[in-house]
C-alpha cells in the first residue's frame, strides 16, 4: 500500500492502516459478506417473495446434428433453478429421446438430446422441448441435410471452400501491388483512405453479425456485453502490442491489417461452416463471384502501407495466409463444432482488431500529410473513404439477401 500512488496522501490521514491492519480491512469485509450469505440462507427472508409462481426457465439451442441415427441437439439451460426436460416434440409429435447427461440441467450447463427421428432431406423440421413445468422451447431446422462429419474428403472440400472465401480474394487484391506502386502522393493517400473505408465497413458488418449471433446464444453468456468487451479487449491489446516500438508503419502495419482481416475472416468462416452444417445450401455461383469481388479490396488494403517498401515475394504469401487462411480454419471449426457464442466472440475480436488498424492507418495518413497538408480532409482522402466503403457496400448487395 505504501508503494501505491495514493499512499502519500493517505499516510497523512489519521488512522491510516499499517500493512497488518490493511490485511484485516480486507478480511473483515469478506467476513461480512460471508455473514450476509449465512443470514440469507439460514433465515430465508426471501421466502415472502415466493408467490407460488413457477421458476423462470430458458433454453438456448447451440447445435443441431442430423445423422443416420436421427437428430441430436445441444442445449444450454439458463433457468433460475435447475430445469428438467420432460418430453420432446418433433413436428408436433412426441418422440422417445435420451438426454446426455441425464437429469436436471443446472443453470449454464448443457446436454445433448438424441431423438431417433427419421428426418427428411431438404425439408423443414421443428423441435419443441417441454419442461416439467409445461413450458415449451422451440427450435426450427429450416432445411434438413446430413451434418458433415470430419472425413478427409469433407475437410478437403471445406478447405477449398474456405480458400474461395478467404485466400483467393486476398491474393487477387495483392496482385494489384505492382500496378499500385507507381501512384503519386495523392494516389497513395487515396489508397490508404480506401483501406480505412473498407475496414470501417467490415467492422460495422462484423459487429452487426456479432450482436445478431450473441442474441441467439444462451443468456448466461450476456451476448452484448461479451461482444463489446471482446472487441474492446482485442482493440486495446493490439494497440498496446503495436505501439511498443512507436506507431506501426510499412510492413508491420500491413501485418496488423492482415491480422485484423484474418480474424474477421475466421469469424466469417465459423458462421459459413455452421450454415453449411445447418443446410442453407444451393444458391449459386453468382453469390461466390460477388463475394470474391467484395473481398478483393481486402488485398488492396493490405498492400497500401507497403507500396513504398521493398517486399520479398514470400512475404506476400505470408500476408495472404494470415488474412485469408483463417477462413479455412473457421470453416472447419464452424461446421464441426459450432455454437453461436463462439462465432460472436470471434467476430467481436475481429472487429476490435479492425478498429486497431483503422486507427493506425489513419495515424499514418496524418503523419504523411504533415502539419501543412490538407490533413485528413483532403479531396484524395475523402474520395478514398467514400470509394472504399461504397465499393464494399455495393458489392455486398450482390451477396446480401
Amino acid at each position: 500500500m505504501r508503494d501505491a500512488p495514493f499512499s502519500e496522501t493517505e499516510a497523512e490521514l489519521p488512522g491510516s492502516a499499517s500493512p497488518r491492519r490493511a490485511l484485516w480491512w480486507i478480511i473483515l469485509p469478506l467476513l461480512a459478506f460471508a455473514a450476509a450469505i449465512a443470514v440469507l440462507v439460514s433465515i430465508n427472508p426471501l421466502a415472502r417473495f415466493n408467490n407460488g409462481t413457477p421458476p423462470v426457465e430458458d433454453i438456448a439451442f447451440e447445435r443441431v446434428i442430423l445423422g443416420s441415427d436421427g437428430i441430436r441437439v445441444l442445449v444450454r439451460a439458463g433457468g433460475s433453478e435447475p430445469m428438467t426436460i420432460a418430453q420432446v416434440q418433433v413436428d408436433d409429435a412426441y418422440w422417445q429421446f435420451t438426454l446426455d447427461p441425464p437429469g436436471p440441467l443446472a443453470r449454464g450447463s448443457s446436454a445433448w438430446i438424441q431423438v431417433p427421428f427419421p428426418w427428411v432431406l431438404g425439408e423443414a423440421h421443428a423441435i419443441n422441448l417441454v419442461t416439467n413445468t409445461g413450458a415449451t422451447f422451440a427450435h426450427d431446422i429450416p432445411v434438413a441435410v446430413a451434418t458433415p462429419i470430419a472425413t478427409n474428403s469433407s475437410l478437403l472440400s471445406q478447405a477449398i471452400l474456405g480458400i474461395f472465401v478467404g485466400v483467393v480474394p486476398v491474393t487477387i487484391g495483392l496482385m494489384f501491388y505492382p500496378a499500385l506502386r507507381g501512384v503519386g502522393r495523392n494516389g497513395m493517400n487515396f489508397l490508404l483512405a480506401v483501406t480505412v473505408g473498407l475496414l470501417a465497413f467490415l467492422m460495422v458488418d462484423a459487429i452487426g453479425d456479432a450482436f445478431e449471433l450473441a442474441a441467439e446464444s444462451a443468456a448466461v453468456f450476456q451476448g452484448n456485453a461479451m461482444v463489446v468487451l471482446a472487441a474492446a479487449a482485442s482493440f486495446l491489446i493490439l494497440m498496446g502490442i503495436g505501439r511498443r516500438n512507436g506507431a506501426p508503419k510499412g510492413l508491420v502495419l500491413a501485418t496488423y491489417i492482415a491480422i485484423g482481416i484474418g480474424l474477421h475472416n475466421f469469424g466469417e468462416g465459423l458462421a459459413i461452416g455452421a450454415a453449411f452444417a445447418a443446410g442453407a445450401a444451393g444458391l449459386g455461383t453468382f453469390l461466390v463471384i460477388g463475394f470474391t469481388l467484395h473481398n478483393v479490396t481486402e488485398g488492396i488494403g493490405i498492400a497500401a502501407p507497403i507500396l513504398r517498401e521493398r517486399i520479398a515475394l514470400w512475404t506476400f504469401a505470408w500476408l495472404t495466409l494470415l488474412a485469408g487462411g483463417p477462413a479455412v480454419l473457421g470453416l472447419w471449426i464452424g461446421s464441426l463444432a459450432f455454437a453461436p457464442q463462439w462465432s460472436a466472440l470471434a467476430l467481436a475480436i475481429g472487429a476490435g482488431a479492425i478498429l486497431q488498424v483503422i486507427v493506425e492507418v489513419t495515424a499514418m495518413m496524418r503523419r504523411r500529410e504533415g502539419p501543412e497538408g490538407d490533413g485528413l480532409f483532403s479531396p484524395a482522402v475523402m474520395s478514398g473513404l467514400a470509394a472504399g466503403a461504397g465499393f464494399m457496400y455495393l458489392t455486398a448487395m450482390l451477396v446480401k439477401i
Binding site: A86, Q96, D140, V399
Partner: protein, 380 residues
C-alpha cells in the same frame, strides 16, 4: 420459419450454399456437394425400412407399435391420486335413499380443489379438479331418480357444476345460479333426465380457462327399462348393475387436452388425462363380450375431436339419448366440444391381439391421444 428466413438468412448463410455449389462446379470439387446430398438422401430414405436404427423398439411395452413416437417415462399415478387404467371403470354412483313418494334420492358429494397433477411423464400441470382428479368423478344415475349434488368449493377461484341435463334455471351452475366462491357450498337438485351419456363442467368465467384447467367429468343417466317397454332388453343392458349390463365391458373415456404453456394451444392430448397411458398399458378386453364406451369430448381450443377404431366398425348413439343407434357400422365419429355419445362394438369374430384406437386428427394422435385394446380370449 418466417422468422428464421427474416433474421438469419444473412450473407454468411447464403454464401455457404453458394460457395458449395460454386466450389463444386468451378473448382471441380464434386465431392463437396455430391457427397453431402448423397449422405442426406441415404439417411432420409434408408431410415424408415431399417427399423433397428430409426425405430428402436422400446423393450417391454406396447408402444413399439407406435415406433419411437411416444412420450418417455411413466406417470406417478400414486402421487396423482388417480390411475387412468382404473378410471375407465370407476363409476361414482353416490349414495341412495328413498324419498317419501317412493322415488330414489341419489346424493353425490363433490369438492373443488386446486391440485398439481402429472398429465404426461414428468410434466406437471396446475389443475383445478373435482374430487382431486381430472376428469372429475364419472357420475352414474338412473333415469327418473332425484339427484342431489352437494358441491363444496375448496379451490382458489369461484367454481360451479353445470350439468348437461334437464333442470331448473336455479340449478344451472352459471353465475347467479349455483356459482359459488371459495369456501362456499351449494346443493344442486334435479331429476335424472333425459337418459344418455352426458357431462358436467364448471361454468365460471372465463369459461375456457375453467374447463381446460380440468373442471369436467362424465354424467351418465341409464335408461329405466320400465319406461321403455318396447326396448326393455336394450335398456336393461345399459342399466348399471343389472345382470344384462354385466355381460358388457363398459369404459368411460373423456377426451381431454392440456395447454401447459398457456398459449391457447394444447401441448398434450389424451383420453382420461394421461398422454399415451393406454399405449403403455393397453386396455384388456375379452373377445367374447361386447364393448360399450361412454365417450365425451371436452378438448378446449380445438373445435373438433374424433374417435377411430382400428380393424373394426361400431354403432354410435349420439348423446346416448336413444336406444337405437344414430349411426350404424362406422369406424369413425367426430365430436365438437361437449358432444358425447355411446360406442358399441364387439371383437367376437376377430383374432386376439392389439387393436389401436385414436382420433383421426393425426396431430392429436401424435401429441398423446392414442391407445390400444388388448383383445384376449377371456379377462380374469
Amino acid at each position: 420459419m418466417p422468422t428464421w428466413f427474416g433474421e438469419r438468412l444473412s450473407r454468411r448463410l447464403v454464401l455457404a450454399g453458394g460457395i458449395c455449389t460454386a466450389g463444386a462446379t468451378a473448382a471441380g470439387v464434386t465431392a463437396a456437394v455430391g457427397q453431402a446430398s448423397h449422405d442426406g438422401h441415404a439417411a432420409g430414405a434408408a431410415r424408415p425400412p431399417s427399423s433397428t436404427d430409426a425405430y428402436p423398439a422400446p423393450a417391454g411395452d406396447h408402444s413399439g407399435a407406435h415406433g419411437a413416437m411416444v412420450t418417455v417415462g411413466e406417470v406417478d399415478s400414486a402421487r396423482n391420486g388417480f390411475d387412468p387404467a382404473k378410471m375407465l371403470t370407476d363409476w361414482d354412483v353416490g349414495t341412495t335413499s328413498t324419498l317419501p313418494d317412493g322415488r330414489t334420492l341419489r346424493t353425490f358429494e363433490i369438492v373443488a380443489e386446486d391440485k398439481e397433477i402429472e398429465i404426461a411423464p414428468g410434466v406437471m400441470f396446475p389443475a383445478w379438479t373435482y374430487n382431486g382428479r381430472v376428469p372429475g368423478p364419472a357420475l352414474r344415475a338412473t333415469e327418473g331418480e332425484r339427484l342431489r349434488i352437494v358441491f363444496k368449493n375448496y379451490g382458489s377461484h369461484p367454481h360451479s357444476m353445470h350439468f348437461h341435463g334437464i333442470h331448473a334455471a336455479r340449478m344451472d351452475g352459471v353465475p347467479g345460479a349455483g356459482l359459488i366462491n371459495p369456501g362456499d357450498e351449494f346443493i344442486y337438485e334435479f331429476d335424472a333426465k333425459p337418459f344418455g351419456c352426458h357431462l358436467y363442467h364448471c361454468h365460471a368465467l372465463p369459461l375456457k380457462r375453467h374447463i381446460h384447467k380440468g373442471m369436467y367429468g362424465a354424467f351418465v343417466i341409464d335408461p329405466d327399462p320400465t319406461r321403455h317397454p318396447e326396448q326393455a332388453d336394450v335398456a336393461r343392458s345399459r342399466l348399471y348393475g343389472s345382470p344384462e349390463n354385466a355381460g358388457w365391458q363398459e369404459f368411460v373415456m373423456v377426451m381431454n387436452a392440456f395447454d401447459t404453456n398457456f398459449d391457447g394451444e394444447n401441448e398434450f392430448y389424451a383420453v382420461n388425462t394421461v398422454a399415451h397411458t393406454y399405449m403403455n398399458t393397453p386396455i384388456r378386453i375379452a373377445r367374447n363380450k361386447p364393448v360399450r364406451i361412454y365417450l365425451i369430448n371436452v378438448v378446449e381450443f380445438d373445435p373438433i375431436n374424433s374417435f377411430h377404431l382400428h380393424a373394426n366398425f361400431f354403432d354410435y348413439f349420439d348423446q346416448g339419448t336413444t336406444l337405437t343407434p344414430t349411426l350404424r357400422t362406422v369406424d369413425l365419429i367426430t365430436q365438437c366440444q361437449a358432444q358425447r355419445g355411446i360406442i358399441e362394438f364387439t371383437f367376437a369374430e376377430h383374432e386376439t391381439g392389439l387393436y389401436m384406437f385414436h382420433p383421426h386428427q393425426s396431430e392429436f394422435t401424435e401429441l398423446g391421444w392414442v391407445g390400444m385394446f388388448d383383445v384376449v380370449e377371456d379377462v380374469a
